[in-house]
C-alpha cells in the first residue's frame, strides 16, 4: 500500500517508447570537413547532451557513435559499425556526413576510406560502408550539403566525382522502416536544424510522431519551406527599395550578391547559435549553401544574382513611394501631441 502511494500518479500515465534504445552510427568519412559534427556540439534545441543524458521525456535511450566525440579508438570504435553491417545491431540511425566520391573513376587507390580491412591492409571505402549499413538502417540521415547534394567538393572541375547520398543510393530509396533519406542541408548544417530533425526521428521511433514530413528534395518541410528572404529582418529595406551599395551597411544586400529571395533556409529567423548570427540578417550575403545547386549555380558569389536585377528594379517605384510616405508619417509620429507642455 505504501509503495503504491509512493509511485507518483503521473508516472502511471506515462508509456514506454516503442523501442527502448537506438544507436546512432555517424560516418564523417565522406568528402566533408566534420563541420556538421562540430555544429551539433553548438546546438541547444536540443543539445547533444540533452539527447544522450535522457533530458527529454519519452525518448529511447540513445548511444552515439561519432568519431569526433567517441571515447573509443580504432577497431574498438569500429565495432558497432561492424556489428551493424553484420545485422547484429538495431535499430540504428545512419548519419552520413560528407559527399560520396566516385571510386570507379580511377584505376586503383581510394578517395575516401574509413578504417582498414584486416584482410587486405587497405582502407575500407566509405561507399562500401554505406552499401553495407544503409540496407539495415532504421533511417538514414544526410547531414550537411555535401552529404545531401554534393556541396563544395562536387564543384565543377573536381577530381573525385563526388555526389550526395540520394544521388548515390537513389532518390526513391527507402529504409527498411519505409523512411526516405532525410536531408538536412546547410554548409555547415544549422546546429538546431539538425538536432531537431534527429529529435523528430527519435520521437517517430518512439511511436509518438507520424512519418517525418519531407519535401521533394527530402528536406524536413517545417524547416525548409520558407526562403531566407521571407524570414530576413532586412526584408523591410527591400520592400522600400533601399539597397546597400557597400558591405557593412544595415540595408538590403541583394545587389551585393545575396541570394536570399530564392534560397530555402531558416537562418534569418533562427540565427546561427542561440539566436545570434546568421547571414543576410547580419550582413553576410546568402550564397545558397542549403541548395542542391550549391555552389556552382551561385558563383561568383559576390556578383548580383541575375534575377535580382529585375526584381530590385521592379520594386523601385513602389518602394521609393512608400518610403517617402512613411518618412512623412514617421516625422509626424515623432512629435508628441501638442498639449503636452508646461
Amino acid at each position: 500500500m505504501e509503495t503504491e502511494t509512493a509511485i507518483p500518479y503521473g508516472r502511471r500515465t506515462q508509456t514506454a517508447p516503442a523501442v527502448p534504445e537506438v544507436d546512432i552510427l555517424w560516418i564523417t568519412a565522406g568528402l566533408g570537413c566534420d563541420g556538421d559534427t562540430v555544429a551539433i556540439t553548438a546546438a541547444t534545441q536540443p543539445s547533444i547532451e540533452d539527447i544522450l543524458l535522457g533530458a527529454l521525456p519519452g525518448l529511447p535511450q540513445v548511444r552515439l557513435h561519432n568519431p569526433v566525440l567517441a571515447y573509443r579508438n580504432g577497431n574498438d570504435f569500429l565495432e558497432p559499425f561492424r556489428e551493424a553491417a553484420a545485422g547484429r545491431l538495431g535499430p540504428f540511425v545512419l548519419v552520413v556526413e560528407g559527399s560520396i566520391p566516385n571510386e570507379r573513376n580511377k584505376s586503383e587507390g581510394y578517395w575516401a576510406g574509413f578504417g582498414t580491412d584486416p584482410a587486405t591492409g587497405q582502407p575500407i571505402l566509405t561507399c562500401d560502408w554505406i552499401d553495407r549499413l544503409a540496407p539495415r538502417a532504421w533511417a538514414v540521415v544526410a547531414a550537411g550539403t555535401c552529404a545531401t547534394y554534393g556541396g563544395i567538393h562536387a564543384m565543377a572541375g573536381n577530381p573525385t566525382g563526388c555526389m550526395g547520398l540520394a544521388d548515390y543510393l537513389g532518390w526513391g530509396w527507402r529504409s527498411a522502416a519505409g523512411i526516405p533519406i532525410v536531408n538536412v542541408p546547410g554548409c555547415p548544417v544549422q546546429p538546431d536544424n539538425f538536432m531537431e530533425t534527429l529529435l523528430y526521428l527519435l520521437t517517430q521511433a518512439a511511436g509518438r510522431a507520424p512519418m517525418i514530413p519531407l519535401d521533394d528534395k527530402l528536406r524536413p518541410t517545417w524547416l525548409f519551406a520558407q526562403t531566407v528572404h521571407e524570414g530576413c529582418d532586412r526584408g523591410g529595406y527591400y520592400e522600400q527599395a533601399d539597397f546597400a551599395d557597400l558591405y557593412g551597411s544595415p540595408r538590403c544586400i541583394v545587389k551585393l550578391g545575396c541570394w536570399g529571395p530564392v534560397v530555402q533556409c531558416n537562418v534569418g529567423k533562427r540565427g546561427w547559435i542561440n539566436g545570434i548570427g546568421g547571414c543576410p540578417n547580419v550582413g553576410g550575403i546568402c550564397i545558397g549553401c542549403t541548395m542542391p545547386g550549391f555552389p556552382d549555380k551561385f558563383m561568383p558569389f559576390m556578383d548580383m544574382p541575375p534575377g535580382a536585377q529585375l526584381s530590385s528594379t521592379a520594386v523601385l517605384t513602389y518602394g521609393r513611394t512608400v518610403r517617402a510616405l512613411r518618412k512623412f508619417t514617421q516625422g509626424s509620429m515623432n512629435q508628441e501631441p501638442e498639449w503636452r507642455h508646461r
Partner: protein
C-alpha cells in the same frame, strides 16, 4: 628523445589505430611497439581522404576563394576564410578600414576561445579522464585519489581524481561546462563573423558586420564570463598536467621531439598592416601573436618574407605526381627574391590514387618543410598544436606589449581583470624545458587566456573607432587581371598560409597550407618523418596494459596533443597484437636529440 639503449631484447608487435577518434578528420597511426622495452619502435601516420581544393579552384573567381576555402575545415574554417581574405587583400591591393580588422581579430579570438576549449576538455580531456585512466593506469588513478589539487581553492576540485572525474564524457561536470562555454564563445564568434564555422560576413576589403555600440556590448559581456571560466581552468590544467610529471617520472619524454616550431603570426595591427608584400616584414612583426621559427630554442626569424621564402612542399610518401618539371607560376616575389619550384606559389597538385604501402606511398598528406638557409636543412617544423609555437615565438620575440599581454623575452604575461566572482589574475606562461605532449596541452589552456586577454584589447580599440564615428567596415577594390598574393595566419592548431596566383582575372593557382600537413606529414623525399611520426616514434610507454588489452593511451595523448585536424587521418590497429619479429640487436628506439627533424 632519450638516447638510452633498450635494455632487453625487443619484442616488437604491430599495432594500429584507424581511425583515431576525438580529432577532426580521418587519421590512422600504424606503429611497431617494443613491449619488452615499453617503447614505440616505429610509426607511420596516414590519412584516407582526398577532396582536391587546389584542383577544383583553378579557373574560379578569386573573390570566391575565402567562401570556398573555409570549407576545408569544419572546426577552424573561419581561420581559412580569414587567411584567404588576407591573401585576397594583398592580391587586390586593398586595405580594409581599421574597424574591419578589429572585428576580424575579435572573431578569430573567439574562435581560439571556442576551439581550444572544446578540444581541450571534450576531446583531449577524455584521455585524462577517470574512466580512461582507470582502464590504462589503475595505480595512477589510485594515486590521484589521494593527491590534493594545489589550486583547488580556485577551481573547486579537491583532488586530481576529482578533476579526472569531471572530465568523464557527458557525465563529468567540467566536460559539460566546457561544452556550454564553447557555445558562449561561438556566440561571440557569430556576433563578428556571422556564422560558425563557415563565416558569412567576411569579404576581401573588409566585413559586412554592422558595427554599433550594441555589437561590442554583446561581445564584451560574454567575454567576461569566459574570462572568469579561464581563471579556473588554467590552474586546473596546471594541477592535472603537473601531476603526470610527478606521478610518472619520465613522462616528459612522452611525445617529446626536438624544438622545431613554426608560428605564422595572428591578429593584424590595422595601423601597421597595409597588406603589401613589400612591407610584410614590418607589419608581420607588429602582429599581436608574433610570427617566428624556433629551432632548438633559438628564434631563427620573425620575418614573414623569410618564412615565405623558406616554404618547400616535398613529396616522398604521398599519393601525388611530382610537379618539378611543371609550370613555374611565380619566378620572383615582389621584392625580387627567387621563388623555388617547390614553393606553394609554384605547386601543381596532381593526385595519383594508389594502394597504400607503408614502405612506399601511404597517405594523402604531403610534406611541407621549411628550408633553414643557415644549414640548408629542410626542417619538419611542427606547430606544437598551435599554442606552444605561438607562445614560444611570441615570448622570445618580446614584441607584444598591450597591457593585457606582455611578452618578456622568456615568458608571456597575461592579465585578466576582475570578473563577477573572482579577483584580477596574472598568468605567466614560461618557456618550458621540453616540446612534448604535456607542454603542448598546457599551452592550449594558457592560450585560451591569451585569446581572451587579446580580445579585451581589441574590444577597446573597436569601441574607440565606433565612438569616433569611423564606422565604415569595407573598402572597395577591383580584381586585377594578373596578381599574386599570400596570407599568413594561425589556424587554431597552428601555421596557416594561403598562396594565390591570378591570371586573366581568374585563379590560376591556389594552395592552402594548414597546420595539419605540417604535423601529420609522412616521411618526405629526404627520408625525414613528419612530426606525429617523429613524436610517437621512440615514445616511452607508461600504460600498464600489455599487448592484449593495450589502449595506446600515451600514443593517443601524443597524437592529440598536436590537435589533429585532418579532414585527412592517423591509423593504428588495436588489440589482437601480432608479434611480428624478435630482434636481439637493439635496432629500435635509438634516436639522438638532433635527429628528430633530420634533413
Amino acid at each position: 628523445m632519450s638516447t638510452a639503449q633498450p635494455a632487453k631484447p625487443p619484442q616488437i608487435v604491430e599495432m594500429s589505430w584507424d581511425p583515431i577518434t576525438r580529432i577532426v578528420g580521418s587519421l590512422g597511426v600504424y606503429t611497431k611497439i617494443d613491449f619488452a622495452n615499453r617503447r614505440v619502435a616505429e610509426c607511420h601516420s596516414t590519412s584516407s581522404i582526398f577532396r582536391g581544393y587546389s584542383v577544383f579552384m583553378k579557373g574560379k573567381d578569386p573573390r570566391d576563394a575565402h567562401f570556398i576555402t573555409s570549407r576545408i575545415c569544419g572546426i577552424c574554417g573561419d581561420n581559412h576564410a580569414t587567411c584567404a581574405v588576407y591573401a585576397q587583400n594583398m592580391a587586390f591591393g586593398v586595405r580594409p578600414p581599421a574597424l574591419a580588422e578589429w572585428i576580424i581579430n575579435l572573431g578569430e579570438a573567439a574562435e581560439y576561445m571556442f576551439d581550444h576549449n572544446l578540444f581541450q576538455d571534450n576531446l583531449v580531456g577524455v584521455d585524462f579522464c577517470e574512466q580512461m585512466v582507470k582502464e590504462t593506469n589503475p595505480s595512477l588513478l589510485a594515486k590521484a585519489e589521494t593527491t590534493a589539487a594545489p589550486h583547488g581553492v580556485l577551481h573547486s576540485y579537491r583532488t586530481i581524481a576529482e578533476i579526472m572525474r569531471a572530465l568523464n564524457p557527458f557525465t563529468g561536470a567540467l566536460y559539460r561546462e566546457a561544452l556550454q562555454m564553447s557555445r558562449l564563445a561561438r556566440e561571440m564568434f557569430c556576433l563578428m563573423e556571422g556564422r560558425h564555422v563557415h563565416p558569412s560576413t567576411l569579404y576581401p576589403g573588409g566585413v559586412g558586420t554592422v558595427p554599433s555600440p550594441q555589437l561590442f556590448t554583446e561581445y564584451l559581456v560574454r567575454l567576461m564570463r569566459y574570462v572568469e571560466f579561464v581563471k579556473k581552468i588554467v590552474p586546473l590544467h596546471d594541477d592535472l598536467f603537473d601531476f603526470f610529471y610527478e606521478a610518472l617520472p619520465g613522462y616528459e619524454e612522452v611525445g617529446r621531439r626536438r624544438v622545431l616550431l613554426g608560428c605564422w603570426g595572428a591578429f593584424n595591427d590595422p595601423d601597421k598592416c597595409d597588406f603589401t608584400y613589400k612591407r610584410m616584414s614590418e607589419w608581420g612583426r607588429a602582429m599581436y601573436v608574433t610570427p617566428g621559427v624556433v629551432v632548438d630554442g633559438e628564434l631563427v626569424t620573425t620575418d614573414l618574407v623569410d618564412i615565405n621564402l623558406g616554404l618547400r612542399i616535398l613529396l616522398g610518401s604521398s599519393f601525388y605526381d611530382d610537379w618539378q618539371g611543371g609550370e613555374t607560376f611565380v619566378k620572383a616575389d615582389p621584392l625580387g627574391n627567387p621563388i623555388d619550384q617547390r614553393h606553394p606559389w609554384n605547386q601543381t597538385t596532381i593526385p595519383r590514387p594508389q594502394k597504400r604501402d607503408f614502405q612506399g606511398k601511404y597517405t594523402w598528406v604531403m610534406s611541407p618543410r621549411w628550408l633553414d638557409k643557415r644549414t640548408g636543412h629542410h626542417l619538419a617544423l611542427d606547430t606544437g598544436g598551435g599554442p606552444l609555437a605561438r607562445f614560444w615565438a611570441t615570448a622570445l620575440a618580446g614584441k607584444v606589449d598591450i597591457g593585457y599581454i606582455q611578452a618578456t623575452g622568456k615568458s608571456v604575461k597575461i592579465y585578466l581583470p576582475k570578473t563577477a566572482n573572482l579577483p584580477e589574475q596574472e598568468l605567466e606562461w614560461k618557456i618550458p624545458r621540453w616540446s612534448n605532449t604535456i607542454e603542448r596541452d598546457r599551452a592550449r589552456s594558457y592560450f585560451q587566456a591569451y585569446a581572451a586577454a587579446a580580445a579585451l584589447y581589441f574590444v577597446k580599440q573597436a569601441q574607440q573607432e565606433v565612438f569616433a564615428g569611423r564606422t565604415a567596415t569595407f573598402s572597395e577594390f577591383q580584381v586585377p587581371g594578373e596578381a599574386i598574393g599570400c596570407g599568413f595566419h594561425e589556424a587554431v592548431r597552428g601555421v596557416l598560409s594561403h598562396h594565390v596566383v591570378i591570371r586573366n582575372g581568374k585563379i590560376a593557382n591556389y594552395h592552402p597550407y594548414p597546420p595539419t600537413p605540417w604535423n601529420a606529414s609522412p616521411r618526405d623525399s629526404l627520408g625525414t618523418p613528419g612530426p606525429y611520426e617523429d613524436a610517437v616514434q621512440n615514445c616511452p610507454l607508461f600504460e600498464e596494459n600489455g599487448p592484449d588489452d593495450f589502449k595506446g593511451i600515451d600514443i593517443m595523448r601524443t597524437v592529440r596533443s598536436f590537435d589533429p585536424c585532418l579532414p585527412c587521418g592517423v591509423h593504428m590497429y588495436l588489440g589482437n597484437g601480432r608479434e611480428i619479429q624478435v630482434r636481439h640487436a637493439p635496432m629500435y628506439g635509438v634516436q639522438g636529440p638532433g635527429e628528430g627533424g633530420r634533413s
